[in-house]
Amino acid sequence: MSRTNRRVYAGVAAGAALTLALTGCGVGGDGGADSGGSGTDGKIAGKITFQTWNLKGGYEKYFDGLIDAFEKKHPGTTVTWVDQPAEGYQDKLSADAAGGNLPDVVDMGPEAAYTLAGAGMLLNVAEDDPEAEEGYLPTAWDAMTFDGIDGGTYGYPWYLNTGPSFFNTDLFEKCGLDPEKLPETYGELFDQAAVMSENCGDEGISMIGRMPTIETFGMYGAELMNGDGTEFTFNDAEGVELVERYQALYEDSGLTEESLNALQTGELDSFKSGQLGWLPGSSYTLSDLKKTAPDVAKTVAMGPLIANTAPNMYLESLVVNSESENTATAKAFARFATDPKNQLAFAKEASVFPSTAGTLDDPYFTEDDGTDEGRLRTEAAAQVGEAVVWWPPAFSGGPDVENLREQIAGALLGKKTAKEALDDAVDYSNDRLAKQ
């Protein structure tokens, strides 16, 4: 081999090394640590960091007041509020967790908390603060109690969100449906979806905008996990039936090609552009529609969230870093921020619902002020009472969600049966769960 060639090949090897480096992954740090209150002496004092998820735009006054009140109540404490943008929040959490830099108190959903708790990074508040449980709604407390780990509760429940179904009544009239008879069950929804597509499908109009998600399976009646939270089981008869209904609708051109791959944002965009008949919404969907799609908002009718079982709700929690240097302060702040008074104040600011016991009895949630927003608030608040956080905490928001959507799309495209698709989805998620 000539010297020139050796140089060239050495260059290629270096380039290839660079390629591998660029395509490579980060350090697989061993963040495993025993849960417990290291650095806690029970004294509420010192500095802590409190991290929220995309709450700085509009809620500064509330959080500044919250922190001031806590610092006054506990002299000698300092709370630094850090807010992270909506985009890439999971990546930020991942980087912090892998680097051992998790803030003392962090805002996150049960799914992220499950992974961090499994790695011993979060405080088990059921063990460390056992009397806290009675202060929260049982459904909210249960959502932060992870049977798949050790049955511990790894965060204080914070705010809840649920909402009604939104229907575009203009499309109902245009596509041969009666806007006075909105669907209330899955059966009615699929029947009316077929009619809508038959009459308006060639214009790209449909009733349903995306594939069923794990919450949909829960609301349809599928058993999502086994009793001890160690295996997924949504490939049961109800789960298969749900996918078969989507299959039948797709075969009758009742779903667009785009819906096979649409995310929640895509579904919302379709509804806003007047191409979608039904949108399962949240408590702030109406104000968003009024602001960003006023023409569609004028045509909107609200109905209860469609569910064969209990309606779904989402939960945010405040978790405490088990490695915090001021565990007592962090725990006290998380408890303070999620107490009934502060949750009520935040719920009024942010159009969400409190997870503390009894707070939903406040007239703000029970008395309709005659506005659309008031009706939405009272109806959704009533729904919270019966709602369930259907999303299993062990079901990852990334790979599991993507795989389920892909498997269902595969079934609709005829690549596999509904049963095979769900079996594959369950196998994949169980395999991932076992490897965590």
Partner: protein
Amino acid sequence: MSGTVTASRRGMRREGRTRPARHPHWTRGSWYVPWLFLGVALAVVSTFVLFPFFNTLLLSFTDATLLRGGQFVGVDNFRELWGDARFRTALLNSTLYVVCVVPVMVVLPLVLAALVAGKGRLLGFFRTSYYLPVIMSPVIVGLVWTNLLDRRGLVNSVLGWVSAVGEPVPFLTDRWLLLFSAMFVTIWMGMGYYMVIYLAALANIDPTLYDSADVDGAGTVRKFLHVTMPGVRNTMGLIGLFSSIAAFRVFGEVYVLTDGTGGTGGDNLTMTMLIQREGTGLQARTGYAGAISLVMFAIMAVLLVLQLVAQNRQRRNG
């Protein structure tokens, strides 16, 4: 032969003696001077290239996750890859990307460069126009093309308006149309960059060769085939290498066109998208993602070596 080299070296030494004496401090301290020059580069390369390389190599043989160091599992990750349908899909898509994009990337920018080479304001305008997509963000480009290729986008509207199609063309939902749309965007974005490289290479071709070709009665096409192309053969090889790596590592275009989903049923996943999916997030399987990275590295290394061998053989024969 060795005697000649030795004599020559001796000569160099003798020649060195005639130079002014070096500063004693400089001579004594010279051992670390090269390291001062190399230090920063070495630190950067070690931190951002060598460490990630060996870390990825080690990880690929473990069951590590983001939050857990993992245990040595031998070749289990590679065995799992073999049975992973998503890996096969990603490998197929990335390979197709190389097969379809690289020939176009090698030839089309050369044609463009040949067309816009020379002086003149109009040619300058075209050179700038062709280069413009290169400086645009892939995400912005992806979003623009997503809007253009959407079911209700401009392309379908125009096709419908001229009655070219009855139904909107599913550019963003059909597996193959989406992949070819992404390839088109890649080519559109990248051809300006390679065109500039070709322009520099074209400037090095001896103009008398074109004069000779004119005398021989060669037309434009013949001159392109028999003067221009041989004149930039080495550059073509280089661009083949660059574009092969870029095509196999495609991410941004497909990611944006599929809204980050990898297409309907994940049919448009590419290798880098699969690595991103497995290797990021709180539940990241860094060991498995490392194995995918290693396979990707091996494929690209083989590809590069094959291209270099072919290029060298061609050079020797030519």
